[in-house]
């Protein structure tokens, strides 16, 4: 891989003393079982797969692999819970269980943050300050909705759908579990959830939390496995709804699988977000926002601002500041509190990212990478930026899901609106300008479900999230996150 490096000479001024989070109090089990009907059960398949720490490739534990009979058990227990106790429970009592889960997550937040970082490779600062607090907040927020649903849908009596199958990705493991489970429970459904193969552990700790909260057996079932387990959930005849977060490709195949059924769906899929800097933007804040937009969580973010559009008149300035800022990013041990960029989640994902970086060079774009030492062992990718990118390049069109930014320029507002919208995706977009009327104009013209104006990658349980076009359908979070789990007729 070729790389042109023009580094600022910081002369070691940016080196921090290591500040490693202790893992002494963390004890992982030797193997993790399936959580079905309130109990941890060995898989009927008797199969297990390893869970790896992506920062050093060491095996952390073994995870049960659910096959057809295990999925049947999980769905049946969810159905029985729905038809039984849970379905008859007054909404205000339902709420109390969900509040309990929120509180126990807060109590266990340190443990959860460390395990999230060990298992997924994301910086501890991020698991500690973003993933885990947001997961707790999500349960707390939706708990309060349980007994207030009739106020959300004027002139309708909302009813739960039944058993919902939920399949989540590896980029925000516990947070995604919370985004899925909290609204499903608040609306009175029961759940079969499958975490991603590479990041199952925090979901299984969540299962322990659910047990501790004394949630009735079968209301939430958490089963682990790979894509084949997910497929079994999707195709199970007794599942009423599929909520999926993941790639657009898998999302489309799920939609095909359920196209002749009455199953409902929520799809939160890929993105290729435009982040737009106008000449009147506050440049330092904008650069900070661009860095956060693409390098946050190693770029493993469906709403990552992976296409940067800079107005020509400030291009040189923005690019210089961007490269300077990149030089100060700390790549390395995810458990170090100084780390900005952790490990890439898996070997497969690293090879996908590298494939795109090679493609970027091959198709004629200019590469700039952070000049830094990468740890030995584990999966790493330095923050990468491409200039001289055209609309037709693969790196400007396809979702990479890594720390790779494609920079393009524009002259007029209309031009950048056209370029930004010229994509099959429509999850999010960013706009940087000090002019309020321009920010609102862009916010209304950009075809995306979330618009960050003078900010980026912000999340909150009260704020609906979800895409236009091939970025999926349905919303998660806020008032708008309720109806995907309800029947209003």
């Amino acid at each position: 891989m070729s790389s042109k490096i023009k580094s600022l000479k910081y002369n070691g001024k940016w080196d921090f003393s290591p500040s490693i989070e202790s893992i002494e109090d963390i004890s992982l089990k030797k193997e993790y079982q399936l959580f079905i009907n309130g109990q941890f059960q060995k898989p009927i398949s008797k199969k297990y797969f390893p869970s790896i720490n992506p920062s050093n490739e060491q095996q952390l534990t073994k995870i049960a692999h659910a096959e057809s009979k295990d999925v049947d058990l999980a769905v049946n227990s969810a159905r029985n819970a729905f038809n039984g106790h849970w379905g008859k429970l007054p909404a205000k009592e339902r709420a109390k269980y969900i509040y309990r889960i929120a509180r126990i997550i807060q109590e266990k937040s340190k443990e959860l943050a460390i395990v999230e970082t060990l298992d997924g490779g994301k910086p501890i600062r991020e698991s500690r300050d973003i993933d885990i607090p947001l997961a707790a907040a999500h349960f707390f927020y939706y708990a309060g909705w349980a007994d207030k649903l009739q106020y959300a849908f004027p002139n309708r009596t909302p009813k739960p759908l039944g058993v919902v199958g939920q399949i989540i990705p590896w980029n925000f493991p516990l947070m995604m579990a919370a985004w899925k489970i909290a609204p499903a429970l608040a609306t009175g459904n029961t759940v079969v959830l499958k975490p991603a193969e590479t990041t199952s552990i925090t979901a299984l700790i969540l299962a322990e939390i659910i047990q501790q909260a004394e949630l009735p057996p079968g209301v939430v079932n958490i089963i682990t496995g790979d894509g084949s387990t997910g497929e079994l959930i999707v195709n199970h005849p007794d599942v009423n709804k599929i909520a999926f977060t993941g790639s657009t490709k898998v999302g489309k195949s799920i939609m095909q699988s359920i196209s002749s059924t009455t199953k409902r769906s929520t799809m939160e899929l890929g993105g290729k977000a435009a982040n737009i800097i106008f000449e009147d933007a506050p440049v330092d804040q904008a650069v900070e926002g661009v860095i956060n937009g693409i390098y946050f969580n190693q770029g493993h973010v469906c709403c990552a601002g992976s296409r940067l559009f800079v107005q020509e008149s400030v291009y040189e300035l923005v690019l210089r500041k961007l490269k300077d800022r990149m030089q100060s990013l700390v790549v390395g041990n995810p458990l170090d509190k100084n780390t900005d960029i952790g490990a890439i989640n898996s070997k497969e994902q690293l090879s996908t990212i590298n494939k795109y970086i090679d493609l970027g060079v091959k198709e004629g774009a200019d590469i700039f990478q952070l000049n830094c030492e990468l740890p030995n062992g584990g999966y790493w990718c330095p923050p990468t930026l491409f200039t001289n990118v055209s609309q037709s390049h693969s790196i400007a069109n396809e979702e990479i899901f890594g720390p790779v930014l494609a920079v393009q320029t524009f002259r007029t507002t209309q031009e950048v609106i056209n370029k930004a919208n010229n994509t099959p995706f429509g999850l999010s977009a960013g706009v940087w300008t000090d002019k309020g009327s321009k920010a609102f104009n862009l916010a209304s013209k950009l075809k995306a479900g979330v618009i960050w104006a003078n900010t980026y990658n912000k999340f909150d349980p009260t704020s609906p999230f979800g895409g236009y076009k091939e970025s999926g359908h349905g919303r998660e979070g806020g008032l708008h996150g309720l109806s995907p789990y309800l029947n209003l007729e």
């Binding site: 907040a137 004027p154 002139n155 309708r156 657009t248 999302g251 489309k252 939609m255 095909q256 196209s259 002749s260 799809m267 899929l269 099959p424 920010a439 916010a443 209304s444 995306a448 479900g449 979330v450 618009i451 960050w452 104006a453 003078n454 900010t455 912000k458 909150d460 009260t462 704020s463 609906p464 999230f465 979800g466 236009y468 076009k469 091939e470 999926g472 359908h473 919303r475 806020g478 008032l479 708008h480 209003l488 007729e489």
Partner: protein, 294 residues
Amino acid sequence: MSKRIKILKTYKIFIDGKFPRTESGRYTQLKKDNIPIANVCLSSKKDIKNAVLFARNAFESWSNKSAYNRSQVLYRIAEMLEGNKNQFLEELILQGVDPKKAILEIDQSIDRIIYFAGWADKINPIFGSVNPVASSHFNFTILEPMGVVAIVAPDDSSLLRLISSIIPVIVSGNTTVSIASEKLPLCAISLAEVISNSDVPNGVVNIVTGEKEELAPHLAQHMDVNALGLNLENKVLKDKMFFEATNNLKRVVDISQYNIQESEFEAPYIVKNFMEAKTTWHPIEKDFTSSNNY
């Protein structure tokens, strides 16, 4: 004096505010009691593509009009329909509807347009939200139209179902391509004439006639259609539409799930089903006296 010869009506399709014949030159003869009553265009894939193109071109301007303006334009359709009742009555009776029921259907259709016209500037106040995020940001969610929506009318209803499918979709700013009832297409074309005489911009409503099984899948496969609104009784065709729609993840709404009668149909949820929620964030400056009270 010889008997006056009646002027017969030529039924054509409606694309971009114009009334062309299908580019394919195909037609079918509609009969009642074995007596020909009209020739109807059998539209082609190319007609569908043209219609989608013009619907797309019309989208930006229609969706950018003020809600107040869209509301008045829809109201105008109702005014025009009210003045053309006789034509629809004749066509409904000609197509075999009992005269009393025909009068009721026309009245219901007019009232339905008025009902949904009023929602244009009320959807967002009811279904939008200002979200109390924990950080120092102003955060709000509004509903926006999706884009081009393809509608398949049912076989058994000539007017009311078609109007009930088109109006809630365009009131929010979407544009449409509709396939008229295959068996009862006359009112659909007359409706197009009413729309053409109202203030609806060209391309917002496009209506083609022809064989549903041939035409509908082209709409489901079209990469520039955002959503489908279906009134389909045929399970095989319905499944095919849902399947084909996955190629660009079109939203699919089964309109036939809604009871056409007033009390059940007249609700904002069908309008909302053809809209997307967009959430916008903006920071609020922080100083030591400020707090996020939004």
